[in-house]
Amino acid sequence: MANGRNLTWRIGLVVSFLAFASVAILGRLFQLQVLEHPYYAAEARQTRVHEETVSGRRGAILDENGYPLAVSIDSYDVMVETKAWQDTGKASIAASTIAGITGGNAATMVAGVQATDMYETPVARGLTYDQASKIRDAAPLGARLVEGSQRVYPEGNLASQLIGFLGKDQEGLTGLEADLDSVLGGSKGELVTERDGLGNALFFGQRNETAPQPGSDVVLTIDRYLQRLAEQELANTVKERNAQGGSIVIVDSRTGAVRAMASLPSFDLTNPDISDNSKLNLTRNRAVTDQYEPGSIFKLVTVSAALDSGKVTPTTSWYDPGYYEATDWKIYNWDFSANGWQTVSQAIVKSLNVGAAWMSGQVGPDVFYDYVHRFGFGQKTGIGLSGDAAGQVRTPETDPSWTRVDLATNSFGQGITATPLQLAMMVAAIANNGKLMKPYVVDQVVGPGGTQKTQPQVVRQVISPQTARNVRQMMGVVVSDQLPKGVVDISHYLIGGKTGTANIANGDGTYKPDTYISSFAGILPLDNASLVILVKIDEPRGVPWGTTVAAPAFGRLAKAALDYYNIAPDQ
């Protein structure tokens, strides 16, 4: 009996132990499977399921005729699993295979992989599809291909500041690439795949893909031929005149479409370097962002205001004693000449500062600044590019320090600032019978959902068609009679233009000595205008006058543009 009781006790102990262990295991299982289920499920999913963000193909940037200026192509990187290349013999064989296809150095690849403690290392980047296919077929040890994207520029550095460039994450950093990033970039998708312990996708495993939306193609108003002409002409003039830089803007005066927009200094679009601020500054689209005192080109605004307000006519006479008195200041002509009795037309044709100041006095500040604003100065143009500067216009209402001297100096483009684009649009308004158009560079957006086309927009009727015609006639005389022979060598066409030579402000109320900005703005053809060209050259050495620096560049561009567009001769 005693033995039986002892046995029962021991069995009871074992059973109790087993029961306790079972309860403990069940409890632990309950904890893992029920209480902590979400955590472990997520952990397991993370190990097994691979999620990656997939980008759609970035849209292309095309010129107005459909020629690509920037397009994206697939590119491939070869990643190597570091552990797989620890055996130098095997690694060398694999590296030789890769190097044979990519043209790299096998020894450098092996050394690079063995030197790192990262899980994976890239040994070749930016491969083409053919190279990637060969590597995929060769299947070198430990290597896998990672698909990416690469932006290529078939026209090289053409319109580099306008187009801008991408960062490594394929997002726009400057120019249109940044301004239209959401349009060009499309929307990102997601790819979920089940992978094995080595990270390879299971052939029959789970695979869910939310397809990315490809970006839209953007068709610009820029014509690559005119853009190239403008860039070449600007580069030649800057070099010839030993200048600091410059800008050229070509606008379709009837619509406001920008056909070319070039600025110097510029940068290498195919290999951008933004390592410091000075290099970053080169990416600025100066035709839109940089404001300067326009000089005599602004006399077109003054005469437009004077004619359109009815204060003068083209034949109204005034007396030029060689100076104009504004309060305690005397305004002189650019050549310090005194011309006696002159007409309003002669004041513009001869570019007389005294005449412009006299006209501003005739119309008064209220009317004058009203026209200045109506021409779009002091406001952003609305072209849709970042950095679109408004320029500075001081008026009696906005600046208590304004005096009558400001009115006089503003009348010939001093003490007032504008961008090259604003000035081109002002001249375009005169060419377009007084209608100021809103400038634009994006003609169409072609996306999966359809095509959106930009419609030309009239900002306002600034001056009457008759006033515009009178001003154009004056501009025609500038080109035909005032410019030296051969400067604008275009026979059979009527061309109009206006020169400008402006001082450069220091920012402290003074001007830089002996440094100027030379410019020329012209209309072609004069009576049936289709194009307006503005040429601005910064700080040319030697003779600074717009007549000798900027006008010849305008002439060559105008001639080429007339030929290119097959515009019929006037005479």
């Binding site: 459909g66 020629y67 192509i73 697939d74 296919s133 090289g156 029959f204 695979r207 059979h492």
Partner: protein, 144 residues
């Protein structure tokens, strides 16, 4: 009393006699169960095979897209202004004219030559207005 159903079964059992349909039924049931068990297997096998095909086709599509993109880029490089100028001046020995002669001819100005919008998608062709399925089905009915 002994001729009841229970006694008959007992009698057949005693004589070693069984119903001839029972094994057949059991076999058939077994086969049906086996077939039913195979059905999801066949279904899932079909689904995975289709999945495999889809993945393969997607890979092929990606490959072709990459080829098309590269071809487009190559075409763009070949039609770039730099190359056009290079070919014109170096291979074809062309040069800009020294003098341009304008000849006035009566008649309207020719339209500027339009260049091909080579990379723009062509307009979607209109859907062919064929006979609808419903029309075909009920075409024989004397409906207005």
């Amino acid at each position: 009393m002994s001729s009841g159903p229970r006694s008959q079964r007992q009698t057949r059992a005693a004589h070693g006699l069984h119903s001839p349909g029972l094994p057949l039924l059991l076999t058939a049931a077994l086969l049906i169960v086996a077939a039913a068990a195979l059905l999801p297997l066949i279904q899932s096998s079909g689904a995975t095979t289709t999945n495999g095909h889809i993945q393969q086709l997607q890979r092929e599509q990606t490959d072709w897209q990459a080829r098309v993109q590269e071809a487009e880029a190559q075409l763009a490089y070949l039609s770039s202004l730099n190359r056009v100028q290079q070919e014109a001046t170096q291979r074809l020995k062309m040069k800009a004219p020294d003098n341009v002669t304008y000849i006035s001819v009566p008649g309207p100005t020719p339209q500027p030559e339009t260049l091909p919008n080579r990379l723009l998608p062509s307009p979607t062709p209109p859907h062919p207005a064929g006979e609808s399925l419903w029309s075909k089905l009920f075409g024989w009915l004397p409906l207005p």
